[in-house]
């Protein structure tokens, strides 16, 4: 496993360099190695069956140590962010059967499952107890062993797991290194996105394997712009990895510029549409930095395209391209039958690459619908994935034009609208629910929901909205709760008897 091999080398050659800075705490490469060895030793001794490890938390220092420890013990980790409500976390516990759950906030996840749960203190004690113990590299993940399983929004209302194995990640890293100056040197990467979302994989797998320092920007910081700018100002970040949304939040402050962050030389964006507006602002504020746009679904290991945005692309009236395929990747724009369409025509994007996952965790039914196998030029079997993204190609560049189904991206989060709907319908007095994305240009600005009730509640509209939002917190993470909720006596239906989304969307755009 390339990351573990690199970390082993760093622990000897640059032991005192910081691997991670979180809230002023500095985790050196030596300590990351030692603590992950201790966790791996514990796993190998107490949980010899290589079931995954579930880690519930946010940006705790030991979160990273547990992730690396799991890899050393030859098993996958399942990172779950604290924004997930208990109900949803329990569904993941039930589906994934982890051998152990690390619960940093102590929220009681998996308490009734019979699975051992380690709180932050118990974990710290255990890492002390196993300190100095070492595991053999024979127990490390390798080949087709899954490294992580990310649970993402599923259209049935239950999250689905995407396992990514060692070979997927090796291929991903080899494809992306040329964009990251692949020489060992001191440099700081942002570590902003929750480990439960795969944009974080860029910093963890690329950054750490190159001996870089990850600078954590926890969620609480985004609530205080003055503190966020002050933190960025002393972070020394050179390589910025985030969703466009996080950068959009930062540019609302006039302080966010090349003077605040003089070392910043690269922005790498992933996870959602990069707008012209953001590109123009960043080019003005950070004239020396290059902007790289990338694209990829979790199912194909973070990203499969990348391109530096040139002045021509910024000036072009077409949308910002999602990039050209990375060296090993084949991208095809296809019709419904899978036949490749000519240049310039819109169709569904299919990805063929060694970065494509084996399929959804224990869901062969879902896997069969969107994953496929094909032969490469040498006659070797490679996996493919139907993205559901509508795209077209011009030359080597690909352009995104929206979804072919009800999946959306909001502030970088991938959301199935049907997932929101089926969870809203779990609320006691809710009869039917329809979720509608509201666009601001090419991006989703927010989600609105229309709801019909079983019994009229006689409340004024704002009170109704607040009551449903409060109840929704039991089933949905906050980023999936619609900003606007409108209660209607009846929801309009179209001739097929399905909710008339067009009519509802028109109602929202009416002034």
């Amino acid at each position: 496993m390339f990351l573990l091999e690199a970390l082993k080398k760093h622990a000897v050659q640059i032991p005192e360099r910081c691997a991670l800075i979180t809230a002023g705490e500095r985790l050196t490469y030596a300590r990351l190695w030692e603590r992950s060895e201790a966790f791996a030793s514990y796993l190998n001794e107490k949980h010899p069956v290589k079931d995954p490890v579930m880690i519930y938390g946010h940006k705790e220092e030991d979160f990273l140590c547990c992730m690396i420890g799991a890899l050393k013990a030859g098993r996958a980790y399942i990172p779950v962010d604290i924004t997930l409500p208990a109900d949803r976390a329990e569904q993941i516990v039930a589906d994934a059967h982890p051998c152990v759950i690390v619960d940093f906030p102590g929220g009681g996840v998996g308490a009734d499952s019979g699975i051992p749960v380690l709180g932050a203190d118990a974990l710290a004690q255990l890492l002390e107890e196993y300190r100095g113990r070492e595991v053999s590299s024979h127990t490390w993940v390798a080949g087709k062993d899954p490294c992580y399983i990310l649970f993402t929004s599923g259209s049935t209302g239950r999250p689905k797991g995407v396992p990514i194995h060692c070979d997927n990640l090796t291929n991903f890293a080899e494809n992306l290194y040329p964009f990251c100056d692949p020489h060992e040197k001191e440099e700081v990467y942002t570590n902003q996105i929750s480990y439960a979302f795969d944009v974080s994989v860029v910093s963890v797998y690329i950054g750490l394997s190159l001996g870089r320092t990850l600078y954590s920007l926890p969620k609480t910081l985004t609530e205080n712009m003055a503190a966020l700018m002050e933190t960025l100002g002393r972070s020394d970040v050179g390589f910025w990895v985030s969703t466009p949304s996080f950068a959009e939040l930062c540019v609302t402050s006039a302080l966010f510029n090349g003077e605040l962050m003089p070392k910043l030389h690269t922005f790498l964006f992933c996870g959602e549409v990069l707008t012209h507006k953001l590109v123009d602002t960043l080019r003005q504020r950070f004239p020396k930095a290059r902007i790289i746009n990338t694209y990829g679904p979790t199912e194909a290991t973070v990203l499969v395209t990348a391109s530096e945005i040139t002045a021509e692309m910024a000036a072009d009236e077409r949308s910002i391209p999602i990039g050209e395929p990375l060296p090993e990747v084949t991208l095809l724009v296809t019709d419904e039958t899978g036949k490749e369409l000519p240049e310039g025509e819109r169709g569904e994007l299919r990805i063929i690459s060694r970065s494509v996952s084996e399929g959804y965790f224990r869901r062969p039914d879902l896997t069969q619908k969107v994953f496929f196998e094909t032969q490469d030029a040498q006659g070797k079997t490679v996996r493919g994935y139907r993205t559901g993204d509508a795209c077209y190609r011009l030359g080597n560049q690909f352009y995104y034009c929206g979804r072919m189904d009800f999946q959306i991206k909001l502030n970088g989060f991938r959301i199935e609208l049907e997932d929101i709907e089926s969870n809203l319908m779990k609320i006691d007095n809710v009869n039917r629910a329809v979720a509608i994305p509201v666009f601001d240009g090419e991006k989703v600005a927010y989600i609105a929901a229309f709801v019909s009730l079983r019994e009229p509640d006689g409340l004024p509209p704002l009170k109704q909205m607040l009551k449903i939002k409060e109840a929704a917190k039991a089933y949905l993470p906050s980023y999936m709760i619609p900003r606007k909720i409108v209660v209607k006596d009846r929801l309009p239906v179209n001739t097929n008897g399905k909710a008339d989304r067009k009519a509802l969307a028109a109602e929202l755009s009416r002034p």
């Binding site: 609530e223 609302t252 402050s253 600005a445 609105a448 906050s478 900003r483």
Partner: protein, 76 residues
């Protein structure tokens, strides 16, 4: 001015201006989050030409519609 601010706020929250009490707790009731604040500030700048630097205010200073209006007034 007050009416404009209330309309922008209602839009950022996803409701109508007549639903908003002057003392409604916007953050406690989880009506606004980080992205909601940004669309609010951008909306105010677009509608009134008043720019509020996000680093110059705390959540406490705009935690109710009444406080928000005072905050805009002070910058006009």
């Amino acid at each position: 001015m007050e009416e404009t601010v209330m309309n922008v706020l209602a839009e950022a929250i996803g409701t109508e201006a007549d639903q908003l009490d002057a003392d409604l707790e916007l953050f406690e009731e989880e009506l606004l989050d980080s992205f909601g604040v940004i669309s609010l500030l951008v909306g105010i700048e677009d509608a009134l030409g008043v720019r509020i630097e996000p680093t110059e205010i705390t959540r406490e200073e705009i935690s109710t519609p009444a406080k928000l209006i005072a905050c805009v007034q002070a910058r006009m």
